[in-house]
Amino acid sequence: MAHTTRPRASVGSRPLLLTKLHPPARRDHTIVRERLVQSLRASVGVKLTVLAAPAGCGKTTLLGTWRDVEETLPVAWLTLDEGDNDPVVLWLHIVEALRRVCPNAVERVRPPASAARVVDVVVRQLLNEVAEQQDVVLILDDFHRLSAGSARDSIAWLIEHAPPTLHVVLGTRSEPALPLGTMRVRGELLELRAHELAFTEEEAAALLNGALGLDLAPEDVDRLVERIEGWPAGVYLAGLSLAGVVDRHAFVSSYGGTSRHVVDFLVDEVLDAHDAQTQSLMLRSSILDRLSGSLCDAVLESDDSARLLRRLARTNLFLLPLDDAGEWYRFHHLFAQLLRVELEHREPGITQTLHLRAYAWHRSRGFVDEAIKHAQQAGAYGEARDVIAGAWLKTASAGRHATVLAWVDGFPPELSRTDPSLLLIRAWMSSLAGAREEAAAAITQLEQLHWDGEPPLADGCGSLEASLATLRGAFAWGDVGTARTNALRAVELVPAGSPIRPAATWSLATACYFRDELDAAERWFDETVQLAGPDERWLLTTSALAYRSLIAAERGSRGAQRSLADGAADVAREHGLEEIAGEVHVAVGLALEADGDIEAALESLERAVTVLRRGQPLDLALALICHARVLRAARRDVDASAAVAEAAATIDSCADPGTLRRRLEALEPRPLPHDVDADLSRRELVVLRMLKGSLSERDIGRELYLSHNTVHSHTKSIYRKLGVSSRKQAVQRGVMLGLL
């Protein structure tokens, strides 16, 4: 199966960024906007609350003050960023955010190990748990930073399926891509928009004269609010500017008399209110997404940043503390942009140097994501590539394929299309993610490079041929012969010390297994375990143990079969691989069957099939054949026939299924159901079987790894062939014809 080549599977390497879970603290300048807090209290009556308004409308501050004064409800907080476009990262943080406010609700929820399983496993589990709890609010701030893709889709799914006890609150600059219209009609939606978030004169006075103590005349406050149209960030900028001004009335009048934009007019004044050292800190650290004293010292080559940051955070709401210890901060995005404009104006071209220093600081501390990003922004592409080469295997084994792909996408196209290391990483990531065409495209580009050695590639190989052979051997895509040829070459070429050596031996072992060359398979699986175990390559280890158990079963060695299956299951459980390593469930299922525990065996095999529907076709067919055999033994003939039909369809899709077809035929003494039915194709039979259940077409597509459209056209074709016009009739007719 695809995932098995994932080199490292340590779940301990998951990157939890605690600063994202830190709700904004209330500070001296924060005003509590009572009318809006009251509106937000109604969140508990609806499924979804949306604060949709432009930058600087005070969304984050409002949500933070509401969370502060909310006494009756647990309110979980998560600030989203671009990294959350990786669903594994996103759900890791959501689970942790909820755990912090209601530990019981997520006690049994396992953090995600693979992007493919996020919605199926983590989100469903989470919803089941939350449904049994009291009300809980989940605030996702900066929702606009999620782009279209599986992470954002998983949030939409969450909201659609949320139990009445879960209330999601989104802070966003742009309209979220959710079916708001429907929810509005059903009364499931609470919305706060820019016009509601604009400051009233009273609120502006509370900020300017109350919190900031500016002592402005009421007509000056009114004039500012009118000129700035109540835009909270603008009013606050004006307040900060006015702090250093003696004749405030004159200042307000002169501002009122220009047509300059407030952000343009005021940034100089805001900066001028500080000493030169603080100004320099604000300007130069504006290139950072998150800042600490130590990081700023490195970027500015200074030594007093921690103190300056603490002081600045007390008097400037645009610098937000990200923890209670006063260590990490971030600038309000809008303010950071203004500072960057000013930085470029005052010190043109310096950002490259600053990014380089930021890269060095992050790299030396093991902050891989940030190191890569800053190196890329500095144009130091060689450095960025080196960091990626050192980190991608570990990151990918934690299931974070999307993260690694985003790193590769951060290079200019002319580089990412010509650099062998980057292309190779793209090929591995696409293969692991099941994106066959993208993987093939990257491999083709690699071949066209005619790259010949030196320096070693990102996988520790000195030769492109060795890397490609391993890649092609590990991902058979239903072609055992080709996989075996490549795996043989890989084992010959990949040097013993290379981190992909165990992937090469595993590839050869599986190719042998699917050709019934059991002695050779056993030898190579054994070598894989020897290499992968000490190197903590848990996925390869558990997979190799599982296959060895299957081999022992075929030889009738019951004792070895059972202990190897147990060993595989232990490794999978310990390292969070149960939702990835489908072959482990096959081995466990067959061992249970040998023990006579048929019900437990069927449960394991069902799980194997579910997991492997997203894996490689050969593994899926194997699991289905085993499942069918045990189902038949349990006299569940209808289910057995469906499993046989799906196995046959899967094998049909393989260019070279090895000995799988023979194994299937050995199992099936009677003609396959498609010979006696109303001419349904095997794939249609599988879909018909799923139509019997309660899944929607979209969910069936997800289960079968087909697009919604494909499932829909199968369904239409089933209706036509059976002469029916509804799902219910199709199932009835299927039962009548003995298809179900």
């Binding site: 600087g56 742009s174 343009d264 104006h345």
Partner: protein
């Protein structure tokens, strides 16, 4: 090969409020003009991704976007 996503052109973005020339830095060298209480950014955009980047920049600054228009299409 020319596709919708790779099509560039000359664009004109109008935002409310007058901005100093130094803001052109955020818009990758587009020309910046102040006209009657608005700022007009105009220049070449290589593809749709860059155009959306500029719109995001406007959004990040909390600026009010008045209009966007294409004044010429690039033929490659």
């Amino acid at each position: 090969m020319e596709s919708r996503a790779t099509r560039g052109g000359t664009y004109r973005l109008v935002v409310r409020g007058e901005l100093d020339d130094r803001f052109a830095y955020l818009f990758n060298g587009m020309e910046l003009e102040r006209i009657a209480g608005t700022t007009v950014l105009s220049g070449d955009v290589v593809d749709q991704a860059q155009l959306h980047g500029y719109i995001a920049r406007v959004e990040e600054l909390g600026l009010e976007l008045v209009s966007i228009s294409q004044t010429a299409e690039h033929v490659t």
